[in-house]
């Protein structure tokens, strides 16, 4: 049986990361940036300087040489505090650069000197247009973008002189821009044709979503204890507390599966692809349903943009879309299971 107990080192990672996140990140700050529709400045550069971005990279390029498991732990804690998904894109960029033997680029990403965002392809349209479009998504500071290439991933910069069109993002704390696909690939910074890189990314997204689900639970439980109605805290009513219990079960289940997927990937188990696909499915469900529940528990406040509850929901959907992107052109979980091979 896999041992899910965090090691002393891993406990320290969580404690240290929580300390700096609690101090520097809060949904209040994120709320402000959301309200001013001014994307938050790069939190990932700061995390990189503290060593969190490079935790899973070899020491030869500025990393700490830890495993997928520690990376997933960091992604989960970051998700709890709504740290930008630039964290994951930058980690992916560092790994891709490292496997393309570009050590200096890998080090820049690992240390947060340069940060990356995601490039996702737009939905195919029926009417003939001016060519396929894509979306650039980042916290506002990214200079590189990771996108899918074949069954792997690549890091790219925008061509010089090109002007992506800014559009409003569903997650108001992120910068979204539209770009024509033909304008993107001019400066390739490295490609990694390994589908395990996509799975690695899927695991990090699942971990960040599990953290997001825990963040929603914490927000809702805290509110249920504080908010009084009919002379008692609303958390004493079963209609509320049972919702909170369901949120807790969803969050812990998603977290456990995200850790299982990371451990299976680190140990290169034959069922690692299935565990990873399962982790994404349950963590997407957990994050979205928990965020919706949290809004419901906050009542009218929850529907107000002044309450942080909606930030978790919108971030969860952005991560869901990234997760779907990672799964593109890889065999689905159902296909994997139907093949019987690695089934346990």
């Amino acid at each position: 049986m896999l041992d899910f107990k965090l090691s002393a080192d891993q406990e320290q990672i969580v404690a240290a990361l929580t300390r700096s996140l609690q101090k520097e990140w809060s949904s209040i700050g994120l709320l402000k940036s959301f309200q001013s529709s001014n994307p938050q400045q790069s939190d990932v550069a700061r995390l990189g300087a503290m060593g969190w971005v490079g935790i899973g990279l070899p020491e030869s390029c500025g990393g700490s040489g830890a495993t997928f498991v520690e990376e997933s732990i960091v992604a989960c804690e970051a998700g709890r505090y709504l740290v930008s998904p630039d964290l994951l894109a930058t980690q992916l960029a560092a790994h891709v650069a490292y496997s393309a033997d570009d050590l200096s680029a890998a080090q820049r990403f690992a240390e947060g000197a340069e940060t990356a965002g995601f490039l996702v392809s737009g939905e195919p349209r029926m009417e003939p247009g001016e060519g396929a479009e894509s979306f650039l998504l980042d916290s506002g500071a990214a200079t590189a973008y990771v996108r899918l290439a074949g069954c792997g991933a690549e890091v790219t910069n925008l061509s010089n002189g090109m002007k992506p069109t800014p559009i409003e993002c569903v997650d108001g704390s992120m910068r979204l821009r539209r770009v024509l696909i033909s304008q993107v690939s001019a400066r390739n910074r490295g490609t990694d044709h390994n589908d395990s890189r996509r799975r690695h990314m899927t695991n990090l997204i699942a971990a960040m979503l599990a953290g997001n689900a825990e963040g929603s639970r914490d927000l809702a439980v805290e509110y249920a204890k504080a908010r009084r109605q009919f002379g008692r805290p609303i958390g004493s009513f079963q209609a509320i507390k049972h919702r909170c219990a369901d949120m807790h079960v969803r969050a812990r289940t998603a977290y456990s599966q995200a850790m299982h997927a990371a451990m299976a990937a680190a140990a290169d188990f034959p069922d690692a692809p299935q565990q990873s696909a399962a982790a994404l499915l349950v963590s997407v469900e957990a994050a979205i349903r928990n965020a919706e529940s949290s809004i419901q528990i906050h009542g009218g406040m929850g529907f107000s943009a002044e309450c942080a509850a909606h930030l978790f929901l919108k971030r969860a959907h952005v991560l869901r879309i990234f997760g779907d992107e990672m799964a593109k052109s890889l065999p689905s979980l159902y296909e994997q299971l139907s093949r019987r091979g690695g089934r346990r």
Partner: protein, 238 residues
Amino acid sequence: VGDRVIVSGQKLWSSYADIADYQELLVRTDASAERHKGLTWLICDMRTPGITVNPIRNIAGSANFAAVFYDDVVIPLDQVVGAVNDGWKVAMATLGFERGTASIALQIELQNAIERLMDDAARSPKARSDSALIEQLTLLWAQAAALRSLTYSIISRTSTGSSGNFDASMVRLRYAELIQDVHRLGFEISGTDGLTHPGARGWTHSYLYSLHDTIAGGTSEIQRNVISERILGLPRGT
């Protein structure tokens, strides 16, 4: 009384009481004590005089539990587990097993049921081309995998003493809901075969039988109370 306990009363929902040799009994031994105090946990020999077992037919058509009647049944004190009037502690330990760690075998059975469901779907041309059904099946598989990860994670932490006994309620709650989802789907994709009731086999029986899972061993509502009050620290209702 002295060196023995005399038991009178009745107990509903005793699983397999009609075939059992022994039974776990939790009886009130101090009438003046409140709620969880004054209870004693006993091992009861089912052949003791004064015991009547009436099997109860359940909604799935089988009869694997019973109403048991006790008419001045004499149980010697050496069949007390723990101490007299301290039975609640013993009961909580055995319930913890039932709700959590002992369920690994049941979870493997659950995963087998999902794989049987996938086989059924693969054989049916209609189900095979139903993408919503495929999606549902995949999600069920993922949820069962995640439930096992959750259980392992709780066991890993229990073995080092850092996990509360209450975590088992999460496993019980999730398992009960999941097994109902799985067998309901199996029953549904059976189509018109669902009209038949071929005894204790097939999706008809297993679907109907799965409805006991959110009731037995503490209802799902009780598990949610435990999780929200004991783990999350939400206030008790009045």
